[in-house]
Point group: C2
Chain length 392, copies 2
């Protein structure tokens, strides 16, 4: 797996369980996955030579991020390396304009969009109706590369900054797209898996809660979602995975609006919206990704509990989380704390907590209140961050 972050770290745990050989290409031995995996290979994913050396020992190469340059992916594929997902599919996670054009071509509902190079083009797109969302075509994550602009002045600032930060990309083509600002009711996500044998599996639709562009919590299944709409979302994810030729996981982030579902983002790897599956589903997303890219039969995506809630642990100002860690374990012995071994920086994802529906009382029916579970998960995660409920 190319990438040494927490996704590779959690994938390494799944690989250990499956008994399959696993190797990560990490930038340094201090990275999250490199700390724990015996199969750490140090190198730079931006270097074709490093990628080739890494791939030489692998039956299949996969990724914990979408930042490997497209030409490198193509070169590896020409070498005969099994790159899964392949470069042709990964392109739609690397280039938001290509993704929007392809999805629209498939008839998939998306926010209205247009590539923009100048403030005049942004103003033409908005036609006086603000706010508008500007997005970097590539390189964004966790809210970075996405700007909600309330005015032409805001948009001009973003374009100017983009010009500084991504001059080369801008010179070569469209570096920014404008999108309508969607007044959504809530955000949903669906995680599907697809294998080279074209076997598909899809997890229950979840609700995601974002703040400042960062995922804060995930509730599975999405509370109160109409069964018809849930099925529609799952079918959509499976269809996109098939049409785009995805091998491995596909995460589809959506807006639920009064008029239906709009696709926001795609990812083709284990995704934050699926961390709950470690405890909450029969097959964790990490195991499922490995099964899919290795062309093993896919595992059951069924829930292992009536409800699961995951909350991200974000870094706070105080780097020492040890006391809080003990407090959370003592306060909620059934909360599952996952720490990533990452240095604490404010706002950075350093771990997550999952709470699953009550099972103490099997004989007497299942008790699980999503709101109560969400409160427990949020409390644990926020305590790990600040030592108190964070106020925003």
């Amino acid at each position: 797996m190319v990438g040494g972050g927490q996704l590779a770290r959690m994938t390494s745990q799944a690989a250990t369980g499956l008994g399959v050989g696993f190797r990560v290409l990490a930038g340094s031995a201090a990275e999250s996955a490199a700390q724990v995996s015996a199969g750490t290979w140090l190198g730079d994913y931006r270097s074709l030579a490093d990628l080739r050396a890494f791939a030489a020992g692998c039956d299949v190469v996969t990724f914990d991020h979408e930042h490997v340059p497209g030409p490198h992916l193509a070169a590896l594929e020409q070498d005969g390396v099994q790159v899964r997902p392949g470069g042709a599919a990964l392109r739609f996670t690397q280039d938001k304009l290509a993704m929007r054009e392809r999805l629209t071509g498939l008839g998939v509902a998306c926010p209205r969009f247009a590539p923009v190079r100048t403030i005049a083009e942004v103003e033409e797109f908005t036609d006086g109706s603000w706010p508008v969302v500007l997005k970097a075509v590539s390189g964004g994550y966790d809210g970075k590369g996405v700007w909600v602009c309330d005015s032409a002045a805001d948009a001009a600032t973003v374009l100017a900054n983009m010009g500084l930060a991504h001059g080369a990309a801008l010179a070569g083509g469209f570096g920014v797209i404008a999108e309508e600002y969607v007044a959504f009711e809530r955000e949903l996500a669906v995680l599907a898996a697809r294998s080279p044998h074209r076997q598909g599996a899809v997890y229950p639709v979840v609700q995601t809660v974002q703040r400042d562009g960062i995922c804060r919590e995930v509730i599975a299944p999405a509370p109160g979602l109409a069964p018809g709409r849930a099925a529609q979302a799952q079918e959509l994810a499976l269809r996109i995975a098939d049409e785009l030729g995805v091998t491995g996981l596909l995460a589809v982030e959506m807006f639920e609006t009064p008029s239906g579902l709009l696709v926001n983002e795609l990812a083709m790897r284990p995704h934050n919206c699926g961390h709950w599956t470690i405890e909450g589903a029969r097959t964790s997303q990490f195991e499922q990704h490995l099964r899919a890219v290795l062309d093993l039969p896919l595992g059951s995506p069924a829930m292992a509990a009536p409800v699961a809630v995951m909350a991200n642990v974000l870094g706070g100002d105080d780097a020492d989380v040890y006391d809080r860690y003990i407090h959370v374990m003592a306060a909620d012995p059934a909360a599952k704390v996952h720490m990533y071994g990452k240095p604490v920086r404010p706002g950075r994802k350093i771990g997550h907590v999952t709470v699953t529906g009550d099972s103490e009382d099997w004989g007497d029916g299942v008790h699980a209140d999503p709101a109560e579970l969400a409160d427990r998960a949020r409390r644990a995660a926020s305590y790990l961050r600040w030592g108190k409920e964070d106020g925003d």
Copy 2:
């Protein structure tokens, strides 16, 4: 953790989740845990120098087996190393005579026993009533070091072989104990955890099924066990853990007989009878052992499903399990296969499969038939062994 076997391998997965530093002392890089853990340290657990060098980098030292010599444990403790469980407690897993004497002293019901050095002493013990069980006082595991003897001639052969194999131990004292052959109804096991803070936690009582002295399957909770007897077994495990000063896990293997429970064996580490907890309990035994030895608050031992069944995968004659692995995944997508990365040898534990109670139908009550689950787990495990149901 001293030891590089599958218990250390699965503990490393738990350490990764908790985000605690983890290092194994393995005999070679090919051992099960060494294959996957970045924290592998090569050395010999029988060498005090190797143990000291290993312990120098650890806050706490624990074990995946009970074979570290007692004098080495004492030396490490004198060095100031936090050895958990400590040598005084571990002695009762290393010396079956000491264990029997101590448990009997505590009033815990055990099979009748006596140390024996000669065939005359065996005959005096049996008083004409055969069969009798002979056990090596130390060094046994997975049925090794335990012999059921139907006659004095059988017993004489065992003693003669023991004299050859363990001459030094026999010269120094009792190398063998005789025990009554218990005509039990079934075998049960209880897993408890105890921390240095004296916090205790106990898992539900399970039924274990052994063949040829090797654990084949574990059903949690033990089907049809009277609630009073289950509580008695759990209290017994917690009491033994406390009386013996255990830090970490204590596994208590018991016989259920018409007249009550008899304690058969003790172990102070993650144990085969607790593998089901990875999917079947809120806190896996591996995480619980780490929490206990690190003096973190213990996790909930509650079940995460109404029923869980684990079956061991034993090596067969054919070293290539890959096709069978795919077949099992395709045949039962909800079965959790854990492979240990160990070379296949006939009869050797090379993995396990866990199946948990049905949750497809949460809204409509929980469906879980222990017999059906056991059949699924057994089928998966035996297919991995032989490609068909094994006949014995």
